[in-house]
Amino acid sequence: MKKTMMGNYAASWGAQLARVQVIAAYPITPQTLIVEKLSDIVADGELDAKFIKVESEHSAMAACIGASATGARAYTATSAQGLALMHEMLHWAALARLPIVMTNVNRAMAPGWSIWADQNDSLSQRDTGWMQIYASSAQEILDSTLIGYKVSEKVLLPTLISFDAFFLSHTMEVVDMPEIELIDKYLPPYKPEYKMDVNDPRSFGALTDEQYYYEFRYKMQKAMDEAVDVIKEDGKEYEKITGRAYSLIHPYRCEDADMILVTSGTIAETTNVAVDELRAEGKKVGNLRIRVIRPYPKKEILEVVKGVKKLAVIDRNISPGYSGIFSQELKSALYNEVDIPVRSYIAGLGGRDVKIEDIKDMANDTLKNDAPNDLIWKGVKI
């Protein structure tokens, strides 16, 4: 069934279709609508779930951890400062290997107080052990929630689905809602091998000395490695029932490209349009959207970019004191493998619009310049 909806509601209905059993959340702009809608859905009896109102995001994640440990399918959503407040619990969820799915609306970290799009909130959580997805459409938000639970419950790692504030959270798009019967088949109830059960008590997260801790980290890495294939397989299975394909990377017109722009989030959608216009001008340009940054799809990226002459990364985030984070990740993937100059652009921080012309400027700048460059501030007012 097709419906017109905001990106935020695509997240709510994704959680409903996934039949989540526990929702614990604290409101924060621009995420509020997601949990407000879910609260309505639960209150109206349209979803058999417990909605826990908590006093902070730290508690929201703590409640999800408890719920997930008992074998319930747990969900929460947040943004920026809220995600930062969860930080300790994010490590806990991942190392306890709990398949929680969380939506994060990418919002700039304060101060200056900002509610607008910026990826620094979620990328600051890169090393917590969560799988990280960057969605570029409302449809993908809904679909990723469903695929997210399936993948998470197989590899026992939590999934964070992020998307840009307002550009996606508050804009309307047509979204195809899959039939619940199809989803019930795709995503059966979660049946964990290890769970908290009063009739079969076990200690969870207990003292783990140096004899074991190292091995748990090793097992987490193995699970991340496995997740690369699981994300592909479960994406393909989802395509069979809905016709929509998802993988870790989404290349657009990259096959014969001389130069590829590497993007994520909503900037990737705008870049597709820019690529069409550049192609019409005779420039052989492609767009490689990175959908999943953890696990990092190194092999898949190299496969796409190995033949190109130049690469340009557009980052709506920055690691202060170095450069854009997607750019660092890409360069570390290329090192020892291929020798391609990379030009790295920062753009759109704090929700500044990145227009088609801006992307064409960056593409033309890369086509003109052969020298790699770590940090180019596109459109900064000096």
């Binding site: 190392l95 306890a96 290997r97 709990l98 026992l156 091998e193 290890y194 079969d200 076990r202 200690s203 969870f204 997260g205 207990a206 003292l207 783990t208 004899q211 074991y212 801790y213 091995e215 748990f216 090793y218 097992k219 193995k222 699970a223």
Partner: protein, 101 residues
């Protein structure tokens, strides 16, 4: 090292990651680490004074007070001797003695 994950499980010899569960769960560490050995003072329930209100059972943070045959019973394998039970008992039915006699 050989451990039993659960009472009913077969003992497992752990030589590496392949023998371990995915998360730090069910390692049986609480079965090995009897934290009652940390205790300096031992709470003792005077059952003549006990009115079976179970406030001690409710307040014990471990929880090391169990209900056996409708009476509160302290599990000295895990009681750390914090004496919260003695503090909360409305009938002063829980006294204590120094550990290590």
């Amino acid at each position: 090292m050989v451990i039993k994950f659960q009472n009913n499980d077969k003992p497992v010899r752990i030589t590496g990651a392949k023998d371990m569960p995915p998360m730090p769960a069910a390692l049986g560490s609480m079965r090995q680490n009897k934290t009652g050995s940390w205790r300096n003072v031992r709470p003792v329930i005077d059952y003549d004074k006990c009115i079976k209100c179970f406030i001690c059972w409710k307040f014990c943070p471990e929880p090391a007070i169990k209900i056996v045959d409708e009476l509160p019973v302290i599990d000295y394998d895990y009681c750390k001797g914090c004496l919260m039970c003695a503090e909360e008992c409305p009938k002063d039915a829980i006294g204590f003695e120094k550990e290590g006699k």
